[in-house]
Symmetry: C2
Subunit: 233 residues, 2 copies
């Protein structure tokens, strides 16, 4: 194991609806087989046209209405904050409806299917740049009990979301109890470290990941926990 490198991809143009992200990324960075490309949700939503105009007659209520529309189950409310479950099964603040880094009067919604978004970028990079890479679509989520936000995976393609270490042994030769590591969330967080929230870098590359992690994958199938097996819903 020789370590990982995490590289910001700079010089990407402001993304507009209809843009082919794989083309923009391939033009901005030279990728190699085995790289994991992390793309923030915001530019994916923009490229896919998941941007809506806020009703100006509603003022601050426009955002609130959107959040209600995007929620299938509200877990908690406090003041303006809503923690809810989205149609995708994500539990996050404001159902992922985001005003930051958006043109005034507009909001970004989560991609309809971020696994599919990741696959589209992965396939595009294979076709455009001839490289076999993993792709993660990331978003910034809070969590209970711990302050501060971290970036997590909302879609993956070509790189494991959760790695199962069952069957391997610890250094005393006993089966491992701690078995399932969410490498996709750790990769998304690592990418965030080089993006910076205000610096406008929406893509990063993680180079040097364990080749065993490069496989078909899905956040929805591997990470999203079914309410029935969740202790906190």
């Amino acid at each position: 194991m020789t370590g990982l490198t995490v590289l910001p991809v700079e010089g990407l143009a402001e993304v507009r609806q209809g843009d082919v992200l794989a083309d923009l990324i391939a033009a901005a960075v030279t990728l190699v087989d085995g790289d994991v490309v992390v793309v923030t949700q915001k530019v994916v939503s923009k490229a896919e046209g998941r941007v809506v105009a806020l009703d100006p007659t509603l003022g601050a209520a426009a955002h609130r209405q959107l959040v209600e529309n995007e929620s299938v189950r509200v877990l908690r409310r406090r003041g303006d904050l809503v923690v809810s479950e989205t149609a995708h099964g994500f539990v996050c603040a404001n159902a992922g409806v985001d005003l930051s880094n958006m043109e005034p009067g507009t909001a970004a919604l989560l991609p309809v299917d971020a696994d599919r978004s990741a696959r589209r970028i992965r396939d595009g990079l294979r076709g455009r740049a001839g490289v076999q890479v993993g792709v993660i679509v990331s978003d910034t989520f809070g969590r209970p009990w711990r302050r501060g936000l971290t970036d997590v995976a909302i879609g993956t393609a070509g790189v494991a979301a959760v790695v199962d270490l069952r069957g391997r042994s610890d250094t005393f030769g006993r089966p491992l109890h701690v078995t399932e590591v969410c490498v996709a969330d750790e990769l998304a967080g690592a990418a965030e470290l080089v993006m910076g929230k205000a610096s406008g870098v929406p893509v990063a590359v993680v180079r040097g990941v364990d080749p065993a992690w490069l496989r078909e994958s899905s956040v929805r199938a591997e990470i999203v926990r079914h309410p029935a097996e969740d202790l906190f819903r």
Copy 2:
């Protein structure tokens, strides 16, 4: 911004009570100013003697009893799993009591004060190796709503736990709504990616972090959310 590298520190001896971790780390890796050294809780607990013998007459109940002892508030129970709050304010499975990678019949408890553990390692590396580094003590926690575990920070020294981006503007010049990023958890997760659960690498180095993050810090003060401001307790 030129990116980050994440390097596993290999060749560390099996850690025993009384070992000076800074000395072991300095002997195993050449550090430079500004590095962030991530050390897993397990070796910190071992070095600090936070290892207890399980009562053999209790069988499986011995672990359960320890978990109860280490919990100040139980949030959820299901089967053998207890999600509880520890005296430190962490909410995690089994109060951080850990049997994996431990000699049979023993369990590791969390460090009494992992911020202090991190400071001791940081100060030791300054004295032993003459370098000014940040140190994170990490542990592997689950979370609600998402499957798979990730490594997070339980102690920090010399590197920010949470970075406040308030006052900066987004690319449209408006104040950022998303403001507080838990970089320590993202750094801990990045380090986990090169450690691997079964490979016995308990230390990693993250090189190239934003120099603005290198400051005094504390997980307890910055990350642990007070129950009164928590929506899920």
